[in-house]
């Protein structure tokens, strides 16, 4: 039963493609219809919406193809004809079959450490990305140079760099931005401090 559930999860993951194509195609088709109604060009195909409609319809067609593929897979799964499973899907052992394999699955200390490291890495990645979002929000009010220096410092610390290397890198980047950007004619946001 659990094996089937695993395969079902893999199939649901496959739904990503039809969903993406359908959403993209749907947006293009609806936008094209809106433009056609507003602009009413003499020859539809040469207007601003004709080509868009074609692309949208093609995407919907590809979405339909993916849905058919997905349905066929699902039907095969129901009738039990699927022999192979996705390599990325974890094989779930049936609860009724407690075997030596399952006993061997107990994690060693090393594996546990790897798991912990992975968890920490995932947290670090999310914080790094979060910092990028915060930076994007603050870059206009604080100015590019200050926001970049703060962002860089924070991210360097989060990724476990020493205080020394964090400060040196941040100062170098700040100086390079303050003098280098104007020299290259880059008009980056200056913010409330004017730098």
């Amino acid at each position: 039963m659990n094996v089937k559930k695993g395969k079902l999860f893999s199939l649901l993951s496959d739904a990503f493609f039809p969903l993406l194509f359908a959403v993209a195609g749907g947006i293009l088709v609806s936008e094209s219809s809106r433009i056609t109604a507003s602009y009413n060009p003499k020859i539809w195909i040469t207007g601003p919406s004709g080509f868009m409609m074609i692309i949208g319809l093609l995407l919907l067609f590809f979405a339909l193809l993916e849905v058919i593929k997905f349905t066929v897979k699902l039907l095969k799964l129901r009738t039990g004809k699927v022999e192979t499973h996705n390599m990325n899907t974890p094989v779930i052992i049936d609860d009724n079959k407690i075997t030596a394999d399952k006993i061997n699955n107990y994690k060693t200390a090393e594996e546990e450490q790897t798991g912990n490291n992975r968890k920490i890495a995932r947290i670090k990645m999310f914080i790094s990305f979060g910092l990028l979002i915060v930076y994007t929000v603050l870059v206009k009010p604080l100015g590019f140079s200050i926001a970049s220096t703060l962002y860089l410092g924070a991210n360097l610390r989060i990724l476990s760099n020493s205080w020394k290397s964090t400060i040196i890198t941040s100062v170098i980047i700040l100086v390079a931005l303050l003098f280098g950007a104007p020299a290259m004619g880059l008009s980056l946001p200056r913010g409330i401090f004017g730098i």
């Binding site: 493609f17 602009y39 990028l132 991210n155 990724l159 980047i173 946001p189």
Partner: protein, 489 residues
């Protein structure tokens, strides 16, 4: 022509010109290394400084900046998986996996040599066949360009992962992205959803930097990467093996051939030419299955095609006065400011100046190679820097590069959106390369499609090149589908 080129060498070979060339090449490298700042940005940023020079020195300077910036894009592509510009995307696809294996040195060397080779062959074509080829390029109309664009999109499916249909759909999504903004011919607001920020459309640089740069860094942090080249990898060998050289040479020849042929066509930028050449090369490669996963053939073809198409762009510029892209438009302005009007006269009454320009390009290309080969040892050190330090710096460079294009915070937000998309795409094996090509070619495809529709599609029968290109594209699709099926089996 040969005698004019030889006398051109005599005019160019002064120590001032050589110094200018070295300095310009270095500056081009410096700007090109920044993500988002490609040759166009480098030439436009440094263009004002060149105007005080003699006409020949101005051309020499701009040419060297151009080559330098193009090679700079290859450096970040190989070492950090951040294509400085769209044309470097194929280089990143094959170069970065090799850098991860500790082969960054040999990869950069092959990039430099392939670029040099592509540039030199195109220079030869420019010198001896420019007027004839330029006239041929002028015979291309909307139908022909539309056919070529369809062909390019079909070729792009060769860059997709497991499924050709998914590749084609990804390319169409890219075309859809290119439609965002105000329509240039009717001023209709398309896909803007009443957001003023979207009126100017989505720039390609945030898309590329987000999909490739941000995704790679986030994945690197997630994988606890110690350094790009892995922990403890030493660069003992920076020379490619005999087999790699042989494969690379063949691919560089193919890249040069495709790049030179496509580069002369106004409307096809070096980025499009590089993608098309890369896709075609995948079918012709000896190690097809390795393309996109660290193949020498992929790198050499992409770099040769990039440089040769850039150089071929000078054929319509010098012979007809038609710039094929933004960089060449700037070069043309420089020529006009210095009193030289590009056009048919360049190969008759102004032929001595043309000889000097060709000699200047030749020297610029040589200096790029001579200067960068010793620098490879320094560049590869980036690949062994601790990733915990490198990751924030790369992210900062990504943001700087994105901001430097249009100075809009909105572009930063777009970069993040495409960063997330790239990350999800990586997990789901969604083919991003065709999507990027679709976004690059989208506007041109639509323009030529609408022009052809205005003329009337029934007249396509009198345009055999267009029919041939579309038919060839469809055949390529079938070949890719069959070939992929075999690989999957």
């Amino acid at each position: 022509m040969l005698e004019y080129i030889l006398s051109g060498f005599a005019a160019v070979f002064t120590w001032q010109n050589l110094l200018i060339s070295i300095f310009s090449c270095f500056m081009g490298n410096l700007v090109g290394v920044l993500p988002g700042l490609g040759p166009t940005a480098a030439v436009s940023l440094l263009f004002p400084f060149t105007l005080k020079l003699q006409p020949l020195s101005t051309i020499l300077c701009l040419g060297a900046i151009y080559y330098g910036a193009m090679y700079g894009g290859a450096i970040t592509s190989v070492l950090l998986n951040i294509p400085g510009e769209v044309a470097s995307v194929p280089t990143a696809m094959d170069g970065y996996p090799r850098a991860k294996e500790g082969k960054a040195g040999s990869t950069l060397l092959m990039c430099a040599c392939s670029s040099f080779f592509g540039g030199m062959i195109s220079l030869f074509i420019l010198a001896f066949f420019a007027p004839v080829l330029a006239r041929f390029a002028l015979s291309f109309g909307s139908f022909e360009y539309f056919g070529l664009m369809v062909f390019s999109l079909c070729c792009a499916c060769g860059l997709s992962g497991k499924s050709v249909a998914r590749g084609l759909a990804a390319a169409l999504i890219g075309v859809g992205i290119s439609m965002v903004g105000i329509d240039s011919s009717t001023s209709a607001f398309r896909l803007t959803f009443n957001q003023v920020k979207l009126y100017n459309g989505i720039d390609i640089i945030p898309i590329v930097v987000g999909i490739f740069g941000i995704t790679e860094v986030l994945q690197g942090i997630l994988d606890n990467t110690k350094s790009v080249a892995g922990n403890g990898v030493k660069f003992k060998r920076s020379l490619p093996t005999k087999r790699e050289t042989k494969l690379g040479f063949g691919a560089a020849c193919r890249g040069t051939l495709f790049g030179s042929m496509l580069g002369i066509l106004p409307g096809l930028t070096p980025s499009s030419c590089t993608f098309i050449a890369y896709s075609l090369n995948k079918k012709l490669s000896v190690e097809k299955e390795k393309i996109g996963k660290g193949a020498v053939e992929g790198i050499c073809c992409a770099e040769a095609a990039n440089n040769s198409s850039a150089m071929s762009g000078f054929i319509p510029l010098l012979a007809l006065g038609i710039p094929t892209g933004p960089v060449l438009a700037i070069v043309m302005s420089a020529l006009i400011i210095t009193g030289v009007v590009p056009g048919p006269l360049m190969f008759s009454s102004n032929i001595s100046l043309t000889g000097q320009i060709i000699a200047a390009f030749f020297i610029g290309n040589c200096i790029l190679l001579i200067m960068n080969v010793p620098l490879i040892k320094i560049w590869v050190k980036i690949a062994v820097l601790p990733y915990k330090w490198l990751a924030p710096v790369i992210l900062f460079l990504c943001m700087l590069g994105t901001m430097a294009v249009r100075f809009q915070v909105f572009d930063l937000a777009m970069m993040l959106v495409f960063g997330i998309l790239g990350f999800v795409a990586k997990k789901k094996s969604f083919p991003v390369a065709p999507m990027v090509l679709g976004a690059v070619l989208g506007q041109s495809i639509e323009i030529y499609f609408r022009q052809a529709a205005t003329i009337g599609f029934e007249k396509i029968t009198s345009h055999p090149i267009s029919i041939g290109a579309i038919a060839l594209g469809l055949i390529m699709l079938v070949i890719f589908a069959v070939f992929k099926g075999r690989v999957d089996d």
